[in-house]
Amino acid sequence: MYFVMSLIWFFVGGTEALIIRMQLWKAEQSLISAELYNQLFTMHGTTMIFLVAMPMAVAFFNYLVPLQIGARDVAFPRLNALSFWIFFFGGVFLNASWLVGAAPNASWVGYANLTSTTYSPGPNVDFWVIGLSILGVSSILGAVNFITTIVNLRAPGMRLMRMPLFSWMTFVTSFVLVTAMPVIAVALVLLAFDRFFSANFFVPMAGGDPVLWQHLFWIFGHPEVYILILPSFGMISDIIPAFSRKPLFGYPVMVYAGALIGFIGWGVWSHHMFTSGLGPIADSFFVASTMIIAIPTGVKIFNWIATMWGGAIRFTTSMLFAIGLLAVFTVGGLSGVMHASAPVDLQQHDTYFVVAHFHYVIVGGVMMGIFAAFYFWFPKVTGRLMSERLGKLHFWTSLVGFNLLFFPMHFSGLYGMPRRTWTYSAALGVDLFNQLSTIGGFVFGLSAVIWVWNIVRSARRGEIAGADPWGAATLEWSIPSPPPHYNFGRLPEVRTREPLWHEDEKRDVEAATLFEPDVEPEMPGPSHWPIFVALGTAGTWALVMTGVWWVPLLGLVFTGFGVFMWAFEDPFAHVGEHHG
């Protein structure tokens, strides 16, 4: 469900991007108004981060982590439902702003004091503040669930240092989420008070400091980048060994590097603020911390290559995307080192060079990883293989489209085109770069259509996959595809990191996981109350928009009622019906 919703938002955000690209086809063009353009780029960024990249990763967390660590389900399946429904209502609320013609228009970073009621009087920014607040709740709940699952529900013998890398990176990401989301929540609450109740946290005339917003936003915003990228790193750390038929090179170092990236990610936020005038001492600190992050990232890249070294590489679509990630993410990583150098950043900051950089990281890193993972685990979820022919077409069109789209942006940026600009002067001489980007955008859009076509087609008529189509090493491949709803017949006992690559261990594991119980293990049944509570949570925030202090309290009462009913519902009631 997570995946389907985020796929829909992926196409919404993609369409927004293509309209942007059409507007930028020529200098001084006005295909759409500046106001609409500002709404489009704000919503493109917000959608792609909060409604696409994050929930897509969450979809994989939900499905795969229990399978990889040998658990029957996540620790709190109903919390999971709540988290999904809050995400659902948050996304719908945010995009409902289009229907009233007032989509958020102050960019995805929403810098104060442009977002104050003085400079953004309309409801646009209200939708943004409230939409993000709702979505933040969803992320925190999800992260708590994954941490609990990984800490408590590992199968016997599944020590932390035997967990597949994807589960490890989920673990790290969840910690980052649970600590980073509250920071943006605080910032959003402050901004909400400024907007709805005339507080002055970010109003300079009243002694508030707009730069505070930048600190709060980026203390969340930079860890957010690692929230996005670490899951993809985890995914390809499982995929590359499977298709090289060799264990991951330097497993402990890969784990530590991931954890280190997540941790240092906390100390680099002000590299987004080198132009804001923090002074040379703060600048130097953030230069150093930011550059240090390049080291564990580099180690990861070298270790992936070393995993392939001496292996027997099979070029499946999934593997191609993983290799594609290595090739293009490195470009994004290195351009990141360029603007980690504060004085250089004074030139590159807020230009298309940075736009190129972070799309290389987020599309070339995060999305390539998600594509690779999608082709890899699709057979486990559906029991059918994706078409390799369409898959390769998807890979090559996306690789070409991606580079054609984002590579020229390095040049438009270096030649002086700032980002978030509705149009640009013909004198800049950057038309050609923009045209290449626009063409690339449509090629990339086409590749996404091929992907969806492949999904639809393969889900119906794909070749039957069997339990382990790839000859992979980890637990999820020991059970049938799709897995039974209780996942494992009996919980297996794990002895190594690659249980299915050791004959004797594989035999024992399969004896346990494939055991067919006479009485199915009791699993909690579905419930309506999470939807009710999610609606209450989203509704409470939406009622804040009235600006009357007691109205949101009604939403709280509604939510409280839902929580109460949920708490006293018997989750195993349905079990009695079946077996009673």
Binding site: G250, G279, I305, F315, S341, Q347, G416, T423, P469
Partner: protein, 384 residues
């Protein structure tokens, strides 16, 4: 029932392996093509890699250093990757690869390697961070830069000179820009003169605390006209918030300051037809002067030596000399001035000036006729 790891239905024996190197070929071709396009693409007046000041030069040196290191690493990674992909692709009937789990020594090596490169970049970076932010050099001329939605104001505190969107600077003399904003956050960026710096609104502080400005320090090396624009998203017309820096010899610069101070169009007898630029009609200029100084224009705009002393909107003294109007977005011509006066928001969404038929910035529509608009445009164009 369960396939075992040795029966691998996918990928085996498929001819895809031969296509693999083309992945890198495609990338390489793109890079080369883009570089070529970049190299022979003509003029880039807002280029960040064409330094014209000491400050920009420092940044550019650093940029080249990081760029070269990046290319070395990228080349290395791609080369090794390409080698691995070709050399270690699966061959039909090949044996199971040796199951290695890592090699601590190698991993230490490729941790230390990048670490050394990072040091090689970080040391000159931090050096540059400090040198470029050193307080005002001796004898630096301070200019106040004030960002407004969506135009730039420049004030020379040593004199009374105030101008908008075109900053005049002397070549060869250290300059310190003292930057802030009158409304939301903007960012001052003229790439050839160096990096950008945010224009933050001044936070009201307790009595006695000095306001916190942002600074840029540099010395322009060669005369010329340099393009720049706002680099921090600041609202609907952010993309149209341009500026020009006119760098001229100290003599020309002083002359400009003098002209500004002595410019007083109403106190002087009206310029005779001969003094007017081609195409201006002295009667119309005179009519335009009367309209301008008797209408709401003067509530917001200033013209040195006249009753127009508004402080809210761009100072229009010597407007006729500017190369552009509307913060670098329109040419400075009578036609474009008319267009602007007629309907500012058609040019620039969010502009606060009222137009002929629409109110703006709490002021009612001006209701000027086309003829009157032309007169005002001619008058403004005559200010030089």
């Amino acid at each position: 029932m369960f396939s075992n790891r040795d029966s691998l239905p996918i990928g085996q024996g498929q001819p895809v392996t031969s296509r693999l190197p083309s992945l890198l070929r495609v990338l390489a071709t793109l890079v080369v093509a883009a570089l070529l396009v970049g190299a022979c693409g003509g003029e880039y007046p807002q280029s960040s890699i064409d330094p014209k000041t000491d400050f920009a030069e420092t940044i550019h040196h650093l940029y080249r250093l990081v760029f070269i290191w990046s290319m070395v690493i990228l080349g290395l990674v791609w080369a090794v990757l390409a080698y691995v992909l070709v050399r270690f692709r699966e061959r039909p009937g090949g044996a199971r690869p040796r199951q290695t789990h890592g090699n601590l020594r190698m991993e230490i090596a490729w941790t230390i390697g990048p670490a050394l490169i990072v040091v090689a970049i970080a040391v000159p970076t931090i050096h540059a961070v400090f040198t470029t932010q050193q307080g005002d050099p001796e004898g630096a001329m301070v200019v106040d830069v004030i960002g407004h939605q969506f135009w730039w104001e420049f004030r020379y505190p040593d004199t009374d000179v105030v101008t908008a969107n075109e900053l005049h600077l002397p070549v060869g003399r250290p300059v310190s820009l003292r930057i802030h904003s009158a409304d939301v956050i903007h960012s001052f960026w003229v790439p050839m003169l160096g990096g950008k710096r945010d224009a933050n609104p001044l936070v009201v502080r307790p009595e006695g605390d000095p306001p916190k400005y942002n600074w840029l320090h540099f010395t322009v090396r060669e005369p010329g006209e340099y393009m720049g624009q706002c680099a921090e998203f600041c609202g609907s017309s952010h993309s149209l918030m341009g500026m020009r820096v006119i760098a001229e010899s100290p003599g020309e610069f002083e002359a400009w300051l003098d002209d500004w101070r002595t410019s007083a169009p109403t106190e002087e007898p009206s310029p005779t037809a001969q003094e007017l630029p081609a195409g201006l009609d002295s009667a119309l200029v005179e009519q335009g002067r009367e309209i301008f100084h008797s209408q709401t224009c003067v509530a917001c705009h200033s013209i040195q030596g006249t009753n127009a002393q508004g402080q809210v909107a761009p100072n229009l003294t010597l407007l006729g000399r500017r190369t552009t109007i509307a913060a670098g977005w329109l040419d400075n011509s009578v036609e474009d001035l008319q267009r602007w006066i007629h309907a500012p928001r058609d040019v620039k969404p969010g502009a606060l000036m009222p137009g002929v038929g629409e109110e703006g910035g709490n002021w009612p529509a001006t209701g000027l006729t086309d003829e009157q608009v032309r007169a005002v445009a001619q008058y403004l164009f005559s200010l030089r």
